[in-house]
């Protein structure tokens, strides 16, 4: 049984992606029997290229992906370079980890509440400093360049890349290199960049690629913060896919393939950029400069990192205040009065939706845990580790843009007669949950000292006894962390729930994004907050449970 688990895991992850791409490719070339259209034909692409907004939509997707990734990576690298092993760094680290689990949509709502012309920042400064007694007519949210959307992506990707970097540092052994560099007179930042960064980047390369693909194709953040005249390509794909005119689906499918090509192209571009940076970096290292600008960059990076963390925190606080607000107009910093009315109206529904959200997340994460633990145990027993190719396969579902394969998957599921509703949604979530659970559990699992197993075996324990009674209890903390990561991933899924669930499955995320179009900030506050709690509470439990459970075995988790 255990032998088949790796194959089964791959199937669960890649099967839906492959099937979805097939389901997208057919209509993209004019084959959609439902609309009595049989291909092959190039008309869908002709229509796509005839759309006046295509240039801007493509530019938006590519630019937001590349810029958001560059900025997030720069912030993370400079912070790590100049602050790792300091107290500020551990404070930041502790703040960033829970922020990772804040759903994208909630963070985007929070950001919008902050930076809009009538947002909290403007309210704090008005009218005393700005002289505004009415919000200025400024295009901040939904700006044509997508800057607000990029900011929304950055504040969410910084925690992700940060944690990936911290994990990578464990293997890069930066301390000795840094000591040598500093002994040679290099500044902390320059020394880190020259001696540690190349090794760390090799480790976080795939996560960086994921951030590129994700930022280019995300729908919920783009709907909330991105421009609409035209929107990003991914948002437009979802619009075409839901047009009552069936032939629009063909255009949407063609656009989905274009989106895929764009992501591949952007990844290629980034790959070329890596080469260039490597060459320039090499020259820079050889030049022997000890780092003149270390001090300002250190301060600047810490500033940016803190802003990105505080943006999420204040954004969430904004959601909370709105959810309790009675009448609240500009430029008042706080509402006229507070009321429980909004919670009274939405609380019961939100709690019912929370149940559904946890049901979907719970089953998906349990399946993922079973598969991942099985794979890791199979890996351990057979002695064959995850190859480089295996790692790529693991990342593949995260690299293929969601908008490229989920619409096709929806069509295929229907063709198969698969019952719409919860079950397909759970399997669609599994596609995204699996890689993250695998990634967050893999390293701690492998770094477990196998001499414990040897000792246990010597005492007569069978492999399964070793697994259940020694390894799992000892690795309880990473297992629970992986569980909470998986739940956060599932809670945050928008497109997979919307398209595969056919509207019958509503989670906190789909409800919140649906409310976004209505602009009721109080209701959005309730759902955004619930969404955040749904992701954060498991995370907190993962920290607390092992401490309580093993309170008299503290050495077990050190």
């Amino acid at each position: 049984m255990l032998r088949f688990l790796p194959a089964l895991t791959l199937l669960a992850m890649l099967g839906p992606v492959a099937a979805g791409l097939w389901g997208t490719a057919l209509p993209a070339f004019g084959h959609l029997p439902a609309a009595s259209l049989t291909g092959p034909s190039l008309d869908p692409f002709r229509n796509l290229f005839g759309w006046a907004g295509l240039g801007a939509a493509v530019r938006l997707s590519v630019m937001s992906g590349l810029i958001a990734t560059s900025v997030s990576l720069a912030i993370v690298v400079f912070i790590t370079a100049s602050w790792s092993r300091t107290r500020s760094f551990s404070v930041l680290e502790r703040m960033l980890s829970p922020l990772l689990s804040v759903p994208h949509a909630a963070a985007a709502f929070g950001l919008a509440f902050l930076i809009a012309p009538s947002g909290w920042v403007a309210r704090l400064l008005s009218p005393a400093l700005t002289g505004w007694d009415r919000p200025p007519d400024l295009l901040i949210v939904q700006d044509p360049l997508g800057l607000a959307m990029i900011a929304g992506l950055v504040v969410k990707e910084v925690p992700f890349l940060m944690l990936m970097t911290i994990a990578a540092m464990g293997q890069a052994q930066p301390r000795r290199s840094l000591l040598v560099a500093q002994a040679l007179g290099y500044g902390r930042l320059t020394g880190w960049l020259k001696t540690v960064f190349p090794r760390v980047y090799t480790q976080i390369r795939l996560p960086v690629y994921v951030v590129i693909a994700y930022s280019m194709s995300i729908v919920d953040v783009a709907v909330i913060l991105g421009p609409s005249t035209p929107p990003t390509l991914s948002v437009q794909i979802v619009k075409w896919m839901s047009d009552p005119d069936l032939s629009m689906r063909l255009t949407g499918a063609a656009a989905a393939l274009l989106q895929l090509a764009l992501v591949i192209g952007a990844l290629g571009l980034w790959w070329c950029g890596e080469r260039i940076v490597a060459r320039l970096g090499h020259r820079w290292i050889m030049s022997g400069g000890r780092g003149k600008f270390d001090t300002p960059i250190r301060a600047f990076s810490l500033g940016l990192g803190s802003i990105s963390a505080f943006t999420i925190l204040f954004g969430l606080a904004g959601l909370a205040v709105w959810s309790f607000a009675a009448f609240w107009s500009f430029p008042n910093v706080l509402p006229d009065s507070f009321t429980l009315r909004t919670w009274g109206r939405h609380g019961p529904d939100a709690i019912a939706t929370l149940g559904e959200t946890f049901l979907v997340a719970g089953i998906a994460v349990l399946l993922a845990l079973a598969l991942v633990l099985g794979c890791l145990e199979a890996e351990h027993r057979s002695g064959r580790g995850l190859t480089r190719r295996g790692l790529w396969l693991l990342y593949l579902p995260l690299l293929v843009p969601q908008t490229a394969f989920l619409p096709g998957l929806q069509t295929l599921l229907l063709n198969l007669g698969a019952d719409v509703g919860r079950l397909p949604v759970i399997f669609a979530h599994l596609v995204f949950v699996l890689p993250y659970v695998f990634l967050s559990l893999g390293d701690p699992w492998r770094s477990w000292d196998i001499r414990y197993a040897t000792v246990a075996s010597a005492l007569g324990a069978r492999p399964s006894t070793v697994f259940w009674q020694v390894r799992v209890p000892m690795l309880l903390r990473p297992i629970l962390t992986a569980t909470s990561v998986g739940i956060a991933v599932s809670v945050g899924q928008y497109l997979a729930t919307l398209l595969i669930g056919g509207g019958r499955v509503s989670t906190l995320t789909t409800e919140a994004v649906a409310l976004a179009s209505g602009g009721d900030r109080r209701a959005i506050g309730v759902y955004g907050l619930m969404q955040t709690l749904a992701a954060l509470v498991p995370f907190t439990l993962a920290l607390i449970i092992p401490t309580i459970l093993w309170r008299n075995r503290r050495g077990l988790h050190e």
């Binding site: 609309a35 009415r134 005249t229 035209p230 069936l246 009448f327 007669g417 509207g503 649906a514």
Partner: protein, 399 residues
């Protein structure tokens, strides 16, 4: 009688399940008992969601029908869903049992034979519907022929904050002049949002001298000429819109917070009572009032339709019928609840039933039926489709 129906239902379940006969109401209610109806309806408005939840409680109580509100961001999603189901051969129990629908979505579904029916005019409560005075038998000029049933009347009103904009406007021309004098204080939802396209229609209807051409489908020959004044009007208006027309609110209700914050002085709504309701919910300041244009404004009805592949058509008909009941209609018209216009003929109601309507306080910002004035007819959907496409081309992609 009931026993016979039950026995018939048991003996020939496949027949009755596949095709409940709307004229045999006892059979319909018997079959509906225990069914779950997935009603796909726009979910962006809290007040509407609350009303739908109440409808759910009531039909469960009276008929044992479980109503689930599937909240949509766009009604077209539901249309697409039914289309994909047809494509996949899911003809018996689709995901959707009922859709809040009108206009081009209805025309598209009727055209593609995706609807169950005809059923509307066989429902018991059809007897009290105002067939003469309200547009309940055509939907954007398309004959309904019983494939959808009405549940609310809507009419365009302009929503103004009198604290910052004291005067009413009488025409689209005056709106343009006012916008030029007060740049950045007006906007409309981005088409193809239904309220956004309605604003375009309202502009066209107000500008045009001869409206008869809009009652027939647009043709390649007359389209450019008829709509030319509209584009000239929008070219003049757009630079003076909120954000200079480079961004638009997503929907009508999304404009409420903009008014509350003072970003906008003026917006548009398709529900005469929505502003009053929003005031009671803290979403609008109490200085907000509504007005209509001198020549009147566009009005239409909201309908529900049942997809051809609904597995709970009987339950859906029970809900559709309940929506047309005096009880539901009076509640929908209450501005503290929803503030929607009724589709019923007051003269056809009993004195008790009428009393519920007369007792309603319409709210500070709601115009009385007399003040609402004359209703202008919706143009044929083909106009809207073309205008929405053209709008996207001209203003929706240029940034």
């Amino acid at each position: 009688m009931k026993h016979i129906v039950l026995i018939a239902a048991l003996v020939a379940p496949t027949f009755t399940l596949a095709n409940p006969d709307p004229s045999d109401w006892d059979a319909v209610t018997a079959e509906a008992n225990g069914q779950t109806v997935y009603w796909n309806a726009w979910g962006g408005s809290t007040t509407t969601n609350d009303f739908l939840a109440w409808v759910g409680d009531r039909v469960l109580e009276d008929y044992g029908v479980v109503l689930e509100h599937v909240k949509l961001t766009d009604t077209a999603d539901a249309v697409t869903r039914v289309l994909s189901e047809k494509q996949a051969g899911e003809d018996d129990d689709g995901a959707i049992d009922m859709i809040w629908i009108n206009g081009s979505n209805f025309a598209a579904m009727k055209d593609a034979d995706l609807l169950f029916g005809p059923y509307a005019e066989q429902l018991p409560n059809w007897a009290v519907v105002d067939v003469e005075g309200k547009t309940v038998q055509t939907d954007f000029t398309v004959p309904i022929e019983g494939y959808e049933s009405p549940w609310a009347m809507a009419q365009v009103v302009f929503v103004q904050n009198t604290a910052t904009m004291p005067d009413e406007l009488g025409s689209m021309e005056e709106l343009l002049e006012w916008a030029q004098a007060n740049p950045g204080r007006f906007s409309y939802p981005q088409p193809p949002d239904f309220l956004g396209t309605t604003f375009l229609k309202q502009a066209l209807v107000d500008i045009l001298e001869d409206l008869s051409v809009l009652q027939t489908p647009a043709t390649d020959e007359n389209y450019s000429e008829v709509t030319a004044p509209l584009w000239a009007y929008l070219d003049a208006l757009t630079p003076h819109l909120w954000r200079m027309g480079r961004a638009y609110p997503a929907t009508g209700t999304a404009m409420f917070p903009l008014i509350a914050d003072g970003e906008l002085d003026l917006s548009i709504s398709f529900s005469p009572g929505a502003a009053s309701t929003a005031i009671t919910n803290f979403e609008l300041p109490d200085t907000v009032r509504t007005f209509v244009l001198d020549k009147g404004t566009i009005g239409n009805a909201s309908f529900v339709a049942i997809p051809y592949n609904s597995g709970s058509a009987a339950g859906a008909m029970v809900v559709a019928n309940f929506l047309m009941s005096p009880e539901a209609q009076a509640r929908a018209q209450d501005p503290n609840i929803l503030g929607y216009g009724t589709v019923l003929n007051m003269d056809a109601l009993s004195a008790d039933e009428r009393e519920a309507f007369d007792a309603l306080e319409l709210g500070v910002a709601t115009l009385s039926p007399v003040e609402l004035g004359s209703v202008q007819a919706e143009p044929h959907p083909s106009w809207m489709t073309r205008i929405a496409d053209d709008w996207a081309e001209r203003y929706g992609t240029g940034q």
